[in-house]
Symmetry: D2
Subunit: 449 residues, 4 copies
């Protein structure tokens, strides 16, 4: 039986991830993400109301039209975590396939919410939970397994497709973090076990493959200690205090909560996407907020909360959206004087996020920081660790799984090339058993392990 | 008699240049510029309608309120060239001084236009022409001389104040270019002569002092050859062709005209600031446009011209504003599909300007280029030379003038520091005869040459 | 009584630190360091045998000849920590002053060793211990106090001179680290107390002032966790394992020891400077090595140890010099095949040090890593935290001490300029109460707090 | 008949270029270069005396052992220009093939000299001249044509293999320069003609493919003007004057000669490789030196010449090797005080070469410049243009030749990836008609145009 990996999206960019694995006549799709960056090019893009084909043309979502020519039946649409570049196009594309959506509970809840917000399409695919450590039969020839993994969003899994031709691993995205608060450590022993059984191919994210200096990605434990070091003194001051981080990074938000508990400040989690990710996480019992904390997402509720905080600034800890300086997110709006909360001399702002390297983010973040500073705020920026495996983590990944073939994904050609060089250090060779695919191309494997 | 140099603006930033030189009881002011970058911080700034004090508070114009405490009489306001960071605040500040405005004809024409556009203040200072090579008596003790100089705008002069205590040179901005089309070469022999007579102090721009790699700034002749190499083939193609450069860079625009003449294309100079700088330059006989060329500044006229060009794209050469990707300028608006001209596959775009190093420009320019490319345009970017002296030019400048004191200006503290290191290589020493001033500080020189 | 701060060395470079503080007729000297970088320029420099004046001319040691013209008596030579850029010229310069050398015990032991190795001069200044928390009377008008501080070498103090004109702080170098293994945390409450009493001036190091991204310097605790994460798996493998870090960074070496104890490997600390710093630290009870550990410094002993390690590579943990790839240091010599130990496929190398930013280090380190890799080694590089205060630490420093005047030191003009901008954010102003000095210049303070 | 392109060397690095094209049973080899960078890794490499297999193992020369398994007969070894990364291994590898060496006269002369200097192997392959514009029959099925091309060494050709399956272009290296002194412009019309006839594949160098900012590579005319601007004043001064550039860049050296003729200075071309490239070029009538000029290569002759120049420094213009600061080259030796010529205050040094981006060059050049400066020299550095096509030149190249397949070469994987992205902009697609090969891999084309 032949196995085919079809690169649909995310093989030429960081964004709009989508891959398909065809085993005999059965197809499993992984991810349906969006490419937010393309919306900068086409400013008038209204995702919720636009048709898939228009979004495909604009490069905002993966071009899955090629799937029509794939001679097989889609049996499952699998999501291994809930970031938008992996699930954001689900409401635009999933209805075209008669197949269940499979994910961990938190990812599934985020998908459900995306589907509900959709204005153009009705998505009725069955939603099916799969937890790390569990398997489910996808077709007579394919069993899907979720392996416990860590990343920067809760309930991230690594997917393994067991087939008669060997195991195919979809590992997009992950980090190896042994000390998260909300997730158990990665299941290394299972990875090694699979490696011994015989892995035909891995599809693996290359986000940090080109960052030479960063051998191993540090644990969230490091971020927790950094945050505590930075936050403790400011929490005690009689000034305003704002923290911003990724809304989906519940682990990090939990760390901020735990530090905040040592003060008398009341936490306010503010902003639309902060509300989306955190309230679901709290409802599911993943995020444990302090009893006095509140989450507000709607502009009106946010503004009311900000008005309260403005009056008694030393009694609150604001956790907001806007770490990249995005003009419409909350912290940039606060910094621009567009809300009821005015940054004043002595206020402390903690930005627990890197600048995602992209000229627009660099510019927005620069403007944000200059505005905050010109209002007298003090800014703390270096409390962050990445959510993506570093080069030495990837080396361990390759050594544990010992795959026959490697398909680097989730990046520009330069990033795939960097991963290729890493894999060549481990004895693989481009064109032989490393395969660089472009969106729309496929790699066929004949014969098994 | 004591001489005092007062740093009003531009000593902590690239922008809002303003300096005063006090000789006995008489004061000469140099430049009244704006700091456009500060408008990014305060988005709601409406320069034409706002009061000086508000603009001062926002950092948009120099804080000249300190002049109230200067015990002396302002005798002249001198502008050595017409860039906005040197003349842009004239309509906000000049009326506070009972003194004539002195500049070369082109600079004066630009000042006049700025004064006419002002909505808040009425400026009635007499306007007085001074040409390079000419002198005028400012007060019994001060004679102002304009020396022929080159820069990236026509009729740039270097100013020399002759006083009983020695000569003070205001050299802000300049380059040494021996091969411009529209300007004679710098008057080196006069600089050397002044050097021999005795220069008390120079106030000198440091824009490129920190660019180690760029020993000597290349001549416009180099840009002309580069542009010709780039433009000739595209001019012959049956596609659209757009060029963008600095509106005030009449020399460069003349070079583009001369190249365009070798084709049958009709030149359209488009955009509000393109109209401002070019029509004045043309009326004054500085810029020689081809007979068929047209200049349009108003949005309506621009749009009509673009509609014509859209239909017969191969018959026009569009010269537009927007080289930094500024969202409201013309080329970015064309690239964003907001005009009657649509960039199509095969169109050629020449960007004859560097990215002015600032995160917002980097982001805007990146977006501009990506939009142009995604419409199928071909982009040419490396046809530019700087308008500012390089390190080795500054070394020649110091050697020719041999000043007793050096006051670096026109830059951040890092840039002033770089210039200081250069001057120390030439035997000067910070704190002894190199003086780093902050906006609002003064340096007094007692005793002469 | 007037107070004068005299910049002797280290005000134009990172290296050869030396300052003098004159209070009335009494002078206290701080530091006598070397500038190793200058030896690259003059390759034939033999420090141990050369005369001070030759070394001064080559820029290798501070030019203290100006002290002849200082009208006062040197009462003490104070060293606040034992790095070479602070103590390395002691044997060349101290004998010219009839004054005791004062330092903490570990620093003093390093100074003693330097004096013993000197081939040209005999140094007989009395050596006097001062511990953090202790004071000693230097002259009727001056009392020296050592305040508990942290850095990247044990027993670093911050010095305070108590005078009738106020307190002068010499803070060169330091970091604020609350979680070191071998040092108590900085004595913040004493700093605040001094701030309340009245600090006339601080002389402060600017090493990291220009690193915008690095708000607060992370604690060694972070480095310990990173190292543990990196080292544990490799310690278990049956391959060779090498670690390199700063020889003087006893805190880091202790952390490596503690991690190594969890394995059966025997530690070998190898290399001349490793021997110098570690054996003294061990003898003084600062460094606690595992019972089986050995230190070898002489080439012969090192080679014998390496020969043993070569045979049973999985039984040893080599801690070596050479983290910058310096051609004559041990790890580069091992990598170049010049010792009895050959790097083999599977060996692990941990470089617990950043590249000190300097083109030669970048090149040497690149060559080192390429050689190690081409021998099959796996390299881990990102387990390090700085030993110098970050921008936000400096902000806290200024706020705690609230000095009347700030004298940035220990850096190029660009670095002093960056610190100046930071201090200006805190309300100081260059030329008023921030003073940039060049080597050889002095700042006089008249009148006290 | 099938066509196969075999990547032997230079597909994973900048260096050791070697490719083979097999048409039916006949093979044509292009280039046999060395990879100088690998000698840094293995310091004890003595190229002239070492065996091919050892050099192959060290990565210094291409691994052509795979040619044993190629089922065909090598009919010609073709060199398109004389740089060492293209011809440097000829004496190590050519004797293994029973085939003539074909090149332009200057390239052939350089090859002859390399063969004569070889100590290990005897090379007896016939040497055969082919001039641009000429063809020669290689086998019944293959005709080789040389097309006039420009680069940074004289007599560079582009090779075209005419076969029944279409034309194969070997374009490695080139630039499009219409204004060289010593070479006619590239034969664009022939390129377009070949494009119309049908190009099966191009093998093309990617050296500058990743340099986004550099749209089109500027002509040597630009470098000539820059050099003249820089050199004229210093030539007139009564100080020493040194220029360094690539020894093989005869075009540039001719430009320097022409400028020097306007002064009374006598030119001395100094250094071993300066002698090698220039004396051959002069003997062949390519380089026209002034009558008074001399070339010295042997250390003894160089030193005698330097001694003369030391005495009457203002009467000479020294043109030396060492632009990258290589420790053993002449200018670095002069700067280090190791010759009879001492750099003095006021001497002028022109470095007409970029830093070839590599950490060791950056470090060596930094050291060179610091040494020169500390001796009082003035350094001019920005008079250079590249010898490699820029992105827009490559776009023109692709449009003119319109090849069916593109094989990027001469670079790291990142560079090949950049070229791939450029080619994809032109409608090609990786894996379909762009082929990234690793050293040792081959691409087979079945069926023709």
């Amino acid at each position: 039986m032949s196995v085919e990996v079809i690169a649909i999206g995310g093989y030429e960019e960081v964004g709009k991830n989508m891959s398909a694995v065809k085993v005999g006549d059965d197809v499993v799709i992984f991810d349906m993400g969006i490419h937010l960056d393309r919306i900068h090019i086409h400013e008038d893009t209204d995702i919720a109301r636009m048709h898939s084909l228009d979004l495909i043309e604009r490069g905002v979502i993966p071009d899955d039209t090629l799937m029509k020519e794939v001679d097989g039946k889609v049996r499952a649409i699998v999501f291994t975590h809930g970031h938008l570049d992996h699930i954001g196009a689900v409401a635009k594309l999933a209805h075209r396939y008669e197949a269940p959506i499979i994910a961990t509970p938190y990812t599934l809840a985020l998908i459900e919410r995306t589907i509900k917000a959709e204005k153009k399409f009705t998505v009725t695919n069955p939603l099916q939970v799969l937890n790390p450590g569990e398997k489910c039969q996808i077709s007579p020839d394919i069993t899907l397994e979720f392996i416990q993994m860590t990343h920067s969003i809760p309930q991230t899994a690594m997917a393994a497709l067991h087939t008669s031709e060997g195991i195919i691993i979809y590992s997009n995205d992950f980090k190896f973090d042994n000390y998260q608060l909300l997730s158990p450590p990665p299941n290394y022993s299972r990875l090694k076990e699979l490696g011994r059984k015989g892995v035909l191919a891995v599809i693996v994210d290359t986000t940090r493959a080109s960052e030479e200096g960063e051998a191993k990605t540090h644990s969230e434990k490091i971020a927790r200690i950094m945050l505590k070091d930075i936050m403790l003194d400011p929490l005690d001051e009689k000034n305003g205090m704002l923290v911003t981080t990724f809304s989906s990074h519940i682990e990090r938000i939990q760390a901020i909560c735990n530090i905040a508990k040592e003060s008398d400040r009341q936490m306010l989690l503010l902003g639309r996407s902060m509300e989306r990710f955190c309230s679901i996480a709290e409802n599911m019992g993943i995020l444990k907020l302090p009893a006095t904390a509140s989450i507000y997402g709607s502009p009106k509720a946010v503004n009311k909360a900000l008005a309260r905080a403005e009056e008694k600034r030393s009694e609150y800890l604001l956790v907001t959206t806007g770490h990249q300086g995005e003009p419409d997110a909350l912290l940039p709006r606060i910094a621009g004087g567009k809300t009821h909360f005015n940054v004043r001399n002595g206020d402390n702002v903690v930005i627990s996020a890197p600048i995602i390297p992209n000229p627009m983010n660099v510019a927005n973040r620069n403007l944000l920081e200059r505005r905050l500073k010109s209002s007298g705020a003090r800014i703390f920026t270096n409390a962050h660790v990445s959510g993506h495996a570093g080069r030495e983590d990837h080396r361990d990944f390759i050594r544990m799984l010992n795959p026959m073939h490697i398909i680097p994904s989730h990046g520009s050609l330069e990033m795939l090339a960097s991963y290729t060089e890493l894999a060549e250090e481990e004895g693989y060779k481009l064109g032989n058993n490393i395969h660089i695919l472009r969106n729309g191309q496929a790699q066929v494997f004949n014969g098994g392990v």
